[in-house]
């Protein structure tokens, strides 16, 4: 499998697929990084009636159509969560689970993400708090860890951690959580109980945008974009629900298209300079 692309699209919904289809038409190599289709917002929509050219259908049917179209295109699909985007001069490194890829431009299209973190989560990230069991699990062999998450992935991660010798306290409910510790995670507060642990794995479908792209300008819980769907980071574009309201399929598709064309222009300009 390739590890280097012209454009990496983070998110496989309306905006992401629209962006990918547009970019491959402009001759760019593209991969879409996405979770399984059932985890996205479109899947949960009962019916979409205002997408022009498309007869009324359920969100799940529309989501599957998008996936099929993506599969039939020259864009690739990488299943997994993007964990961080690292600017490396003229390219970006994108960590996806325990792999990494590089690209010239990034299009953020991961939809509405949970930006509010638990107390202690941001402060102790990398010091006992982790978003990725396969990435950091080996460092907790023989230790006790908490795992917060209700998805199938969270269950698989809990099994993985147990298989390598961790004692796992699994939390699936929506309780009030807080991670406490000074230099490192020492305990997890869940509801009104405190559990001493060596590490806390928080398994969410998506990593918050602020964690994914540090320094990205946001406003009103959305990524700030200018004309052409550019963001405050050159080479990073954004489209769809992650850029704010309205949360509509039609808007996402349009923004994905614009973002892709901007990304293609951006890449062509870089190549001209060389």
């Amino acid at each position: 499998m390739q590890t280097s692309y012209d454009i990496l699209v983070i998110g496989g919904g309306a905006a992401g697929v629209s962006a990918a289809l547009t970019a491959v038409n402009r001759g760019k190599t593209v991969a879409v990084i996405s979770n399984p289709v059932e985890t996205g917002s479109i899947w949960r929509a009962e019916k979409i009636t205002n997408y022009p050219g498309c007869p009324e259908m359920s969100g799940s049917d529309l989501a599957l159509l998008l996936r099929r179209q993506l599969a039939e295109s020259r864009a690739e699909l990488i299943t997994g969560r993007a964990l961080s985007v690292i600017p490396m001069g003229e390219t970006f490194g994108v960590a996806v689970e325990n792999d990494y890829y590089s690209c010239s431009a990034v299009i953020l299209a991961a939809g509405i993400t949970r930006e509010k973190l638990y107390p202690g989560e941001a402060e102790l990230l990398g010091r006992g708090v982790s978003y990725c069991a396969t990435c950091d699990g080996m460092l907790y062999r023989g230790k006790t860890v908490a795992l917060i998450g209700s998805s199938e992935e969270a269950e698989r991660d809990a099994d993985f951690l147990r298989s390598i010798g961790c004692t796992v306290l699994a939390f699936k409910e929506n309780l009030r959580y807080a991670v406490i510790g000074r230099d490192r995670a020492e305990a997890l507060i869940a509801g009104d109980k405190e559990y001493p642990v060596d590490g806390v794995f928080i398994i969410k479908d998506t990593v918050s945008v602020t964690t994914l792209v540090p320094g990205l300008a946001r406003e009103d819980n959305a990524i700030m974009t200018a004309r052409g769907m550019t963001t405050s980071v050159p080479g990073v574009f954004a489209a769809g629900d992650c850029t704010g309201k309205p949360y509509q399929f039609a808007k996402a598709v349009g923004e994905g298209n614009v973002a892709a064309l901007s990304a293609c222009d951006y890449i062509d300009k870089i190549k001209e300079k060389v």
Binding site: S84, I86, G93, N98, Y100, C135, M138
Partner: protein, 101 residues
């Protein structure tokens, strides 16, 4: 100047003087493969003014424990034997230079 791979036995001696940038990595860590070429390029650029070293946390668990390594990769700057700055996650060239000072 080349990047040295440090073991517990020779660690203290190697970092005793000057500035050393230590990369704590592991064979099972994907993003570490992103970090490696960045360090190679930096090493060429710095030409020995700063030493760059790597520690495999699986082979040297005592060193990983000593510096509280809880996520991979972790980059650590040591000045004259004392740990000065620690960053978790892949660091690009600019970020590494800021760490080194």
């Amino acid at each position: 100047m080349a990047i040295t791979h440090l073991k517990t036995a020779d660690f203290d001696n190697a970092v005793r003087e000057g500035v050393t940038l230590v990369d704590f990595w592991a064979t099972w860590c994907g993003p570490c493969r992103m970090q490696a070429p960045i360090l190679e390029a930096l090493d060429k650029e710095l030409q020995g003014s700063v030493k760059i070293a790597k520690v495999d946390v699986d082979e040297e668990p005592e060193l990983a424990q000593r510096f509280g390594i809880m996520s991979i990769p972790t980059l650590l700057v040591i000045r004259d034997g004392e740990a000065a700055d620690k960053r978790v996650g892949v660091q690009n060239a600019e970020q590494l230079k800021a760490m080194i000072g």
